[in-house]
Amino acid sequence: MDIVVCVKRVPLTEEVDLVIDAQKKGVKKDQLAFVLNDWDNYAIEEAILLKEKHGGTVTAITVGNEDDEEVLRRCLAMGADRAIRVEAGDMSRFDSFGIVKILSQVVKDLPYDLVFTGVLADDDSYGMVGMMMAEELNLNHSSMVTAIELEDGKVRTTSELEGGLGEVSVVDLPALITIQTGINEPRYVSILGIRKAAKKELKVMDLAELGVSDGELAPRAIIEEVYLPPETEGAQILTGDPDKIAGDLVEILTKKGVME
């Protein structure tokens, strides 16, 4: 069972004040810390679990600059066999469609039974790369998957629907699957583990090698403008020391009739 997992490095934005850049096309990223996209962390773990059970290989791929190798090293430390980074220069000139073209070009020449992506990326939240790749590569697919079982030449998936409902399907291999958070418990990665994994293969490819030109990668989506959320009335903020706040809360709870 050979599995290819597409991953992305994204900024951590919780408890951070995001600042819009001068062109109003994105946010300033120089002060932000970066991590492996949460969904992709589950995807790589799921691939490694399947490899541990059934044998085979796991290859992690990303498109990005040298800094993005950090997430590939993490994937290698978790148990991926090899990693590929596509050096594509200034990433802001691509939309999801361009990324799909690049990733598909890499994947099509690799041996694989399964391709995994996360359901979406925490930064721009488009959630379209996985299924676009499925169509681009003409692969069978299943999305938002929370359970996977291998069967002979097939894979049985549970897709998460709304309202606590799951949809069980059987998909013929090879297939592309988008992985939902919670499907497993991603393993812990130590600094030592990352250092040890430095011996594993991390290949860098460029667009010329892949045979894709900038013309083919021209974006269709144009970000007109990014902006902070419009002001709303918002919550009435309770202030003071914890004692005062707790007192105010008890008063509110009493008024709302839930203190009996």
Binding site: M144, L161, E167, R220, I245, V258
Partner: protein, 326 residues
């Protein structure tokens, strides 16, 4: 006059709310642009669904076939791509739902039409459509348009538009034949399973004390349980807590969990992603404790405490016990 297409989402014989919401938006745009609204309905034995939509669209284009009994992104993609090719609609709306998120990207590649996902509004400017959407968990908004195109695909977030009827419409029903001779979907439906069954029914609770990622460690959940107990309330949670297996799925509030209707909903360490907030629309009063003043939850909560939950929760528990004694 050109058509705005709405792809009807239905499950187990019921029209999903997202369908009505998209038809509302399509109706609003159609009125301003003198377009018409076409509902595109794929399924098997769907006449009652068509009937229920008949005053919300100008046309209902129906593909009724046994092979469409269950949703299949493969079949939907082929059929809708053919219809788009034939009729060239300027705008196609699909739900940003589990099914829509599988279908729309495939359809985009298949048809060559650009796609904007999870849109919270659609603006129309000089004959172009512009998607309003969110990034970075709702901390940033973005307006997205497209390079020159004959049409575009938008997936629409659930709950952002009213479910109401708009305008006065009487749909003409157009029955289409199943157009494909030789297509074998690569994915076969097996069954639906209930993933959130359990002993506690949070949908019946009057008071929920809900915990999110901000709790940090599994053992800290005891703090939330103690507060809930003092208040005689029920513990619930947001998705990350279930993903980590710290609490069971049946306690999860949100799109993929339960929708709740308590008198009071206390959200502790929950940032307020829209998937979570969608489950709290029926809550009377929402009180949020979070140390990030920019957390989206403060946009919808009624009362907010911008502070460390570990400072607030123990004191609150003591105050509640004290008040109950008195």
């Amino acid at each position: 006059m050109s058509d705005i297409f709405v792809i009807v989402e239905h499950r187990l014989g019921e029209i999903r709310d997202i369908t009505f919401e998209m038809l509302w938006k399509a109706g609003e745009l159609a009125e301003n642009l003198s377009h018409s609204v076409s509902a595109v309905l794929l399924g098997h034995e769907v006449s009652s669904i068509a009937e229920d939509l008949s005053d919300r669209a100008d046309q209902i284009i129906i593909y009724d076939d046994e092979r469409l009994k269950n949703f299949s992104a493969d079949l939907y993609k082929e059929i809708i791509a053919g219809l788009i090719e034939e009729t060239k609609p300027p705008l196609i709306l699909i739900g940003s739902t589990s099914w829509g998120m599988e279908l729309a990207p495939c359809l985009s590649i298949k048809t060559g039409l650009p796609l904007a996902t999870d849109c919270i509004d659609i603006l129309s400017e000089n004959g172009r459509f512009i998607a309003q959407r969110q990034m970075y968990n709702g901390k940033i908004f973005a307006n997205v348009s497209f390079a020159e195109t004959s049409g575009c695909l938008f997936t629409i977030r659930s709950g952002v538009f009213p479910k109401d009827k708009i305008g006065d419409r009487q749909a003409q029903k157009i029955q289409k034949g199943f157009p494909l001779i030789d297509i074998k979907p690569g994915k076969t439906f097996v069954e639906f399973v209930e993933t959130a069954a359990g002993d506690v029914d949070i949908t019946q609770a009057e008071l929920l004390v809900s915990v999110g990622r901000g709790i940090g460690e599994e053992e800290n959940i005891a703090l939330i349980k103690e507060l809930a107990e003092a208040l005689n309330g029920v513990v619930s949670c947001s998705r990350p807590i279930v993903d980590k297996n710290w609490l069971p799925k049946y306690l999860q509030v949100g799109t993929s969990g339960k929708s709740v209707t308590p008198k009071v909903y206390i959200a502790i360490g929950i940032s307020g992603a829209f998937q979570h907030m969608a489950g709290t629309n029926g809550a009377g009063t929402i009180i949020a404790v979070n140390k990030d003043p920019k957390a989206p939850i403060f946009r919808t909560a009624h009362y907010g405490i911008v502070d460390d939950l570990f400072k607030i929760v123990p004191v609150l528990k003591d105050k509640v016990l004290e008040a109950k004694k008195g």
